[in-house]
Symmetry: C2
Amino acid sequence: MSEKLIKSLAGTRDILPWQWEKWHALHDAARRQFSIYGYGELATPIIEEAALFIKGTGESTEIVEKQMYTIDAAGEEDSGNAISLRPEGTPPAVRAYLESDLHKKQKFQKFWYSGPMFRREKPQKGRLRQFHQIGVEAIGGDSPLLDAETILLADAIYRDAGLKGYRTCINNIGCEECRPRYRENLRTYLRDRSDELCPDCVRRLDRNVLRILDCKNAPCKETVADMPSITGLLCNGCKDHYRTLKTVLDAQGLDYQEDPHLVRGLDYYTQTVYEIKHEELGARDTICGGGRYDGLVAQMGGPELSCVGFAMGVEATLIAMEAETEPDEATSLNPDVYVVCFDEPARIKCFEQLTMLRGAGLSADMDYEGRSAKAQMRSADRTGADFCMLIGGLEIENCEVTLKDMRSGQQWKAAWDKGADAILDALA
Amino acid sequence: MSEKLIKSLAGTRDILPWQWEKWHALHDAARRQFSIYGYGELATPIIEEAALFIKGTGESTEIVEKQMYTIDAAGEEDSGNAISLRPEGTPPAVRAYLESDLHKKQKFQKFWYSGPMFRREKPQKGRLRQFHQIGVEAIGGDSPLLDAETILLADAIYRDAGLKGYRTCINNIGCEECRPRYRENLRTYLRDRSDELCPDCVRRLDRNVLRILDCKNAPCKETVADMPSITGLLCNGCKDHYRTLKTVLDAQGLDYQEDPHLVRGLDYYTQTVYEIKHEELGARDTICGGGRYDGLVAQMGGPELSCVGFAMGVEATLIAMEAETEPDEATSLNPDVYVVCFDEPARIKCFEQLTMLRGAGLSADMDYEGRSAKAQMRSADRTGADFCMLIGGLEIENCEVTLKDMRSGQQWKAAWDKGADAILDALA
């Protein structure tokens, strides 16, 4: 190797062929439950105008302030506006909803999406810069039953995927009527303790005091631990909403906890917020977060619409799944048949059989490196093939194939054009 | 609506819930055939070091020269090197193969991938800046049988997906031994006609004369139409390789055409190149392109390895599929059951039934907008529900539910806790 190899970027990773088992288990479970719960699949682009997130996610959020991958698009034929890699899925889903005029046809819509998100976080263990989310957005409904539906949906996905050691935390952070009062209370409380806060949080005192509740610095965490909770300040509408949500979750027997200090790291949440946490994850233990965002659609230029949604962190969830069960086995492809060539001139005839086997729907493979019959038998073993088909000069002369059951070692012959049938019979 | 709506970027698009039918048909077909053909799933990140494509795809290619989305990463904690959105899948696959040390364990590996790619092309009809590819890379095999395998695999995917009006074109563009002679011939031929070429192609005369064969400008296309083909200049190795490939494809009955002018727009191809074209696509009619790239791995700093692969354009293929068949129907979600609430106080009890239905694996939905019973029945109709479950004060008093078959109009009652069973019976 003459040159230095180029590596993958810090905070990104490949998924290799034997690393998919739990990934697919989670995504398959989600897809099943989305169908049961009536959510429609939505894909939005990876790239959007940066303004979408500045307006939607919020200018003063950590995500927009520090973590966006932004491409300067000056000189572009089109808008010339800056382009961002999406850091989260909610503003694009709302944009798609508004842009497609869905709200004119039918106001209430339920979507799900899955895919990569990008945040330029400090690269460290467990924090990826390209990570993946599975999320839902229910747009146009203000019923607390809808909040309950999304919480139960997240729970159903995790149960379907076999996950166990998680707990659901809920809170109500008030609406535009009651939250200003709380914000003022909190500001007064924290201003007296501002020497205990980090510089970012001191700045947040004026700009966005609620975000201090979400700061990950230990001194800030301690300072807010005894802060007044919003619960007593909620307006009657929010109190009713929260009460109904809890009644419904109780009736469903969902094991949840109320956490009056729970806020989410995004500006647009109102009323219900929730997180699902897993015991195996340490300090950053949230594997799913969601809540209501009743102001966002209007803020993005659309009509007044109440919404609720969640996003699951795929990588965080997979860590939890892997901690609970055996790690993915280094599974090989396990073809039904491996075709072994005994004499070099037979190789093209082997390929013919290979294509016949595949045409019959059997998974089948052969050697393309010109290796010896012995090495080919080793490959058959290593890939976990159920059967071998052995072809040499003799087989071609007699217009037949030799078959070998790799478990029993038993060998038998079949006519040249009956090889696939013989394997299908043996598998049945 | 007070503010201007932010739109999606030119050259990107959403996929809405009723636009997935052919997308999934193609991807499901591909997944089935990858399993039959023994290709393992590989995911690489969307973002990579720009150098990966400069080195891998080739500095003088149009993609790298003009079309890469690149993020200046100066000031980053890590490398500080420029970051690109991947414009194609082959260099990342090779990087993943080398970085994971797969080649040390087992040299020969077959991968497939699918996902978004990004090229900053001029936005125009049918050319997306975020588009999608399904591709394979077989690394470490030099047999022409392997070239045949990938061509037959692409064909198997299209057949499995139900596509018909496509044709496969093949060529051999020589190896590092015989191509220089051809390049010289071509340069001499085209230099005499350089006044007929576009300025880009005049520049290509010295830098990369083969790329002129791929120019989309009409005058350049005409100029190269009568150029000498490489076929007569191939070395014996390339001739043999090409002959074997054709023999094998003939034996399989694959209907292909030889096109001595076929080159691919990437620098790394050697020997076999192929394209699958579809009659419905007009000037840019390639829906799948591939070939052998025997020099790339070493060029990227790895060992000398022979490789072959293809990439299907998902959007181009979907255009072809849609031209051949009915466009996707605007399918609704078709839940098994829609729960209709007849009296407002019953709404929470409706939600209870909804959860019981879903718990039984039935797809079920209800209204979250507080609409009238009549409007809810309209929703049940519109979503294409098979059954309605009607719940009002009377049902709750009698501890039962009313069920309605939406096709026959027939109504019947079931005990409160037998609603799901009754629907399951009726569906069976």
